[in-house]
Symmetry: none
Subunit: 201 residues, 4 copies
Amino acid sequence: MEKRNKHQIKRELSFEKLMEASLKIFAEKGYDKASIDDIAKEAGYTKGTFYLHFSSKEELFLKLMDNRLESFKRQYFEVFSYVEDIEESLRRGVALFIELTKKDNWAPIYFEFCVNSMRNPVIKKQMIVHYHSWIDMVTSVLKQLDPFKECEDTQLKELAALIIAIIDGYHLQYSIDPSIADQNRIIQVIIQLLSSFKSGI
Amino acid sequence: MEKRNKHQIKRELSFEKLMEASLKIFAEKGYDKASIDDIAKEAGYTKGTFYLHFSSKEELFLKLMDNRLESFKRQYFEVFSYVEDIEESLRRGVALFIELTKKDNWAPIYFEFCVNSMRNPVIKKQMIVHYHSWIDMVTSVLKQLDPFKECEDTQLKELAALIIAIIDGYHLQYSIDPSIADQNRIIQVIIQLLSSFKSGI
Amino acid sequence: MEKRNKHQIKRELSFEKLMEASLKIFAEKGYDKASIDDIAKEAGYTKGTFYLHFSSKEELFLKLMDNRLESFKRQYFEVFSYVEDIEESLRRGVALFIELTKKDNWAPIYFEFCVNSMRNPVIKKQMIVHYHSWIDMVTSVLKQLDPFKECEDTQLKELAALIIAIIDGYHLQYSIDPSIADQNRIIQVIIQLLSSFKSGI
Amino acid sequence: MEKRNKHQIKRELSFEKLMEASLKIFAEKGYDKASIDDIAKEAGYTKGTFYLHFSSKEELFLKLMDNRLESFKRQYFEVFSYVEDIEESLRRGVALFIELTKKDNWAPIYFEFCVNSMRNPVIKKQMIVHYHSWIDMVTSVLKQLDPFKECEDTQLKELAALIIAIIDGYHLQYSIDPSIADQNRIIQVIIQLLSSFKSGI
DNA sequence: AATGAATGAGCGTTCATTCAT
DNA sequence: AATGAATGAACGCTCATTCAT
């Protein structure tokens, strides 16, 4: 048992280190230019160790995607979960939402996920699953808000998809040239979108 | 002289063909997985010819970016140039704008430009130049519209940047899962944004 | 003492299992493509256990060769040991001999031994020892037969070598294309060879 | 044209060198242990050049097999083609046949072909084709001989297959331990086989 | 202008072997 | 006795780039 545990702990440690390293390397170099050697070395191991944990580069990428996308959803959800009155708290929510994307070098890795999903069907499939799960999350947040409580899910989902698209667009612009991407304006747009949606009902 | 000319013509022809081929191959495979061999073959030449025109893969990529981004701006500008009365024609304009992006497999190559610009400073610099030039173009289109004629350029530029961000966001979503990206809604958002901007003045 | 015994028994068990597994894997994949992992897994153990029993892949191969070649000799000897009257029983003997080679996927592993012995001096040495021991075995069988009782050993050994060569040749042909290797004809050739040898004396 | 020619000549030269080198390396080390690096270096080139000529290691092996097996058939055929009177000249023919196999390090490469054909279906297929073509060759030689002129092809083919099996068996024994493989005896066996076949008609 | 032979560095992956547990 | 984490050398293969023709 004890042995088991020590092995397990070591295993988990090296796995964690490799995941962390791969996040960094993929973000820095992109999927293709990131080599297994780079990743293993960054994690403090050699190539061989990598293949103890992942059967291929693609598998690692998939696992990293899954891990990161899921973790982001969770973080976002926490941010939004205590949003109760509308305007002001939503403003705060969206601001936080946007703030989070700037942490952790999220942009390069996120767009790396996106771009690779456009060409690799396996990655695409996983991307779609996560994207929908985000939409569901945002939908459920909206549903907590008074004005939307009565809305149909389909409508709210469309609204959620729109919000995510806008934030992604802002996000991309911010990555290209932070000096032109104005966080306040994008928040205004989203608030406005919500208001007009309310009144449209 | 004549010979010179024939050579020049041939040279331009092979250059054009290589550019076209590289567009196709980069869109299909992405920067890293596209090989010079692939591109040359697609153009009907061999590797050697490639290096007669481009000193490296990166140079080609830069030239292609320049060429495509410029050409897109031109196409968009044409679309918008005869927009004179507001709402309806703008709707048509934005729709066309969006439609254009779906042609020519533009999405994968565009995001390829974006993602690479996040990592390569030379590419980034060029991307920023083009992005600003797009903003200027959209700004100038807006300026033609009655309600915005009196606006300050700085304000209009912010508006233009916002519009482009939103369209990019829509575009990305469309690339991830076309079934959730609703073109009409995104157009509505932009129209609304314009209206509210007008009334905000 | 008892503990010792238990350990020994376990040790012998795992050794046996590893040998059996290696026979199967080497036959299936050949020496180079068979991995220690494959073999250990097939035996129901892990790599570590393998190195408790064998110091290297080559040592295993050598032990397996020794084991298999010896075991084959024993089996053959049993088959031939009760051959007493000549023609008919010899026919049966040779047929059985050939039949045995088809069992247990013997061909691929046997030729694996042969081919490796052509390149590795250690393996070659062991192969020669066994080959000679086969010749001796066949010689002793021949010596039991009336017509050969008076023959000199050197002569009988030559005959034995010839018989083994012919069977190996048949065996190889059978492995390449079973549809052209005719067991009866090869038996006839051997019978004939024996008759002519007899009359040659 | 001239250019073409020079390129072609260079190409053929490097191809030839690579084939020769691969013959040597495969014979020395066997298929799996022979590395592309080894082969290319032996030929005086680098790995890259190898892949200009062969798309994979397997393709090279297949081409080498085809080339060698065909060339051997041709050599054998030349040896036998002027065999007209029986016994003595056949003796000479078989002797030459056997002699040829000792040249060029044929044994290790031939058994390498055989052993690999037992596990790789593509190689197996090609091996069978060549083997049958050998049988046909030997059959046609036999048919030139007076006693066999009237025989049916099917019968002669069986005889040919038998002869080849016996020679291969001798060949294998010779490779394992030359000191026990007696060339004269194997020739006697074949001659005898032919005589008994004749009288069997 | 165009070809294509040649290079060399690099990559994803495998695997025999070691050793702490 | 058995495990399994870790290594490091190798291997098959790809590809951007160079250069003689």
